[in-house]
């Protein structure tokens, strides 16, 4: 066992650092480090810079434009991006639908869809959940009925993250009739958001922002050629990907950076019982212990992730261990979010939404990182709910690992 980097890996890290230093737009970087909401152009501009560098699709096979990096290089990349304050990749195109397309799609589909994802010319969103199919996703009812050379899709998808930005949506739909077993009745469709019959309506989250949507399908005609793989196999495709596409799910690098920033912030925050700057919150033992406890948890999580990555690199498929990464990754990140609220003190209260936009010219209320601390904490409660809730992850562990 060892965790040392080779000279090549160190050189790679240097290259990555130089690149981030030179290319990451300062405005976007500032927002990421202060925990402020990003807008579409922040994401797209950055992705395009990565595309030009050939680093947009970290995990894709080289033949489709991937980097061909080793797991260690990917790990270095994730860490350096987080430390530099680079935006996280919006996963729907790059990490979710692309692997389905290059694994199960036909040649035509690969040619048609992968380049637009790689270059970030097409924004994708994920249409899985429905109002009555959340944790029990397989009970989804959005239907796709064959009519000539197309499907006619009817139903409602919900919680569609950034669907209002999207050019395309990938959906799980029901193609089988009532008699067919759930797992054989679901198909995987790619749908152009411009198709007549689609309406997108906003859902406002607890941070007051428009991030998620309901997407309604009213007799939407989707060409048969937009179906991935076989009819009735969509569930299998979606599931296979769930267990394979788990890199970065623990978000260790982001949490490390966020914790480091929180510590800096606390060091510059008066604990109130001393004369200003020389008596910081970090000097309060109960607070310092809280920070230490989170850091310790994060270390255990990091090494759990490294063990998983290393198992994958030796050819083993990540199993239900990825549930540990999901549960602990979100718990640690949420604890850090809470730390920011605590550091902000009274300045966690003001909700000056206009400050988050680029054009705000009024006086800034409170220190920069305090402004979005509470809204971000509220919003990030989602992370233990989505992507298979933490309760569902524990059910998976009970069943698949403990044999219960």
């Amino acid at each position: 066992m060892n965790i040392d980097y080779s000279p090549e890996e160190l050189a790679f890290r240097r290259e990555v650092r130089d690149f981030l230093q030179a290319k990451l737009p300062p405005g976007t970087r500032r927002k990421v480090l202060d925990g402020l909401p990003l807008i579409k152009s922040d994401h797209v501009n950055w992705q395009k810079i990565l595309y030009e560098q050939g680093w947009a699709a970290v995990n894709w096979p080289v033949e489709y434009g991937g980097t061909g990096w080793t797991p260690t290089q990917k790990y270095i990349w994730a860490n350096e991006c987080a430390m530099a304050g680079a935006p996280e990749v919006v996963p729907f195109g790059m990490k979710m639908v692309a692997p389905v397309i290059y694994t199960y799609g036909n040649q035509e589909q690969k040619h048609r869809f992968l380049p637009g994802i790689l270059s970030s010319d097409h924004w994708w969103c994920q249409g899985y959940s429905e109002p009555n199919a959340g944790s029990d996703l397989a009970s989804l009812t959005t239907s796709a009925v064959r009519d000539g050379d197309s499907y006619v899709v009817n139903g409602t998808k919900t919680w569609t993250t950034l669907g209002h930005y999207a050019d395309w949506i990938f959906c799980l739909v029901r193609t089988g009739g009532p008699g067919v077993k759930n797992q054989e009745a679901i198909s995987f469709l790619l749908i152009d958001m411009e198709t007549p019959g689609i309406t997108v309506s906003p859902i406002i989250t607890l941070d007051g922002l428009h991030e998620v949507n309901e997407v309604h399908f009213d007799n939407v005609r989707v060409p048969l050629e937009n179906r991935i793989g076989e009819e009735g196999r969509g569930w299998t495709y979606a599931k296979m990907l769930l267990t394979h596409e788990r890199t970065g799910i623990a978000r260790v690098a982001q949490s490390k950076k966020r914790l480091q920033t929180a510590r800096e912030l606390a060091s510059n925050t008066s604990h109130g019982d001393g004369i200003e700057d020389d008596e910081s919150l970090m000097r309060v033992p109960s607070f310092a212990q809280k920070v230490a406890a989170i850091e310790i948890e994060l270390l255990a999580l990091e090494f759990t992730e490294l063990r998983t990555l290393s198992a994958v690199s030796t050819g083993q498929a990540p199993g239900p261990e990825s549930s540990i990464l999901k549960i602990k990754g979100t718990e640690v990140a949420q604890a850090i979010d809470e730390l920011y609220v605590e550091i902000a003190g009274y300045y966690g209260l003001p909700f000056v939404k206009a400050q988050f936009g680029g054009e705000y010219e009024g006086p800034w209320v409170g220190p920069g990182a305090a402004a979005n601390s509470a809204p971000r904490y509220f919003n990030n409660r989602k992370t233990s709910i989505y992507g298979g809730s933490n309760e569902i992850q524990k059910n998976i562990i009970c069943k698949a690992v403990l044999g219960l």
Partner: protein, 375 residues
Amino acid sequence: MDFSVSEEQRMLRDSIAKFIQQNYDFHSRCELVGSETGFSAAHWQLFAELGWLSVPFREEDGGFGGSAVDLMLMMEAFGQGMVVEPILPSVVLSGGLIAAAGSEVQKRDMLGALMAGRLQLAFAFSEPQSRYNLANIKTRAELQGDSYVLSGQKSVVLNGGAADVLIVAARTSGGQLDDNGVSLLLVNADTDGLVRQDYATVDGHRASEITFDKVRLPATDLLGEAGGALPVIERTVDRVSLALCAEAVGAMEVAYRKTVEYTRTRKQFGVAIASFQALQHRMADMFIECEMARSIVIMAALQLDAHNGIAPRAVSAAKSRVGRAARLIGQEAVQLHGGIGVTEELDIGHIFKRLTTVQYMFGSTDHHTRRFASL
């Protein structure tokens, strides 16, 4: 020993519950929160008519009695409705300061108008560096002839935007952290040299940043003794902390009840999600936390009414314990609701937000745990 409520207390509680039922459904609350002033002047007038604004004050000051137990019962009832009218900052906090420190004339003039619903107040105490230390004050008021000249910055002044008069904690002597030298000044909101930036808070209330640049005030606008305000502030903030804790208990009760109700109706995997024992135990924990919080708030209210000197310790115990309960119940309520819990569309998320801010106002959970240990 007797934990029963009196007939009068029961009527107070019931009348607030009835008001909430008739006027304060989720939709109406959202409209108030989004309105220009952030609360309803008509509701405020009604509160005055029904005597609710008089509850925290002694009979000799024209009030309803002023016991901490009454205050607790009232605030718990308001908490159940997530009421946004500024009872806490205007009446309990600022009114409390006037009742505790005001001259007979000040009390007669201001408390009368406050209880009649004609006056809005705010207490400007916290500063960017002060965190939860009430003595940490840089704002200064210099006596020049028969005026005070006030300069400094106050942060997150609750109800600052609606207040007709601000009570400002300022140093008339001493260093930034000294116990002595803190004075309270009454400042009209429209005085020259006062600049306010009003905003909404994350929990649907309102607050302001306020700066004072050489604001000139008659020396008679002092509330209480020059330099001796800190003990009054501490006592009053203790009462406010208790009131806030009681409000939180009301909100926690609603949060766990609504969660139970929701999980009984929400179906996944062909059954109500309430049928999963993993979730049942979590709701049992929410209930337990709520009852523990309720108990410690009653304890603190009784100690405040006993005037026996251990009230500060009791209040810190309550604030610390309620903070823990509010955290768990708020987070779990959202988690058990699933996605709908993190949206503005359902009341549960709004309750979660308030159950978050109560943990950090007037001393965080951590602050009060340390204060408890030190007293």
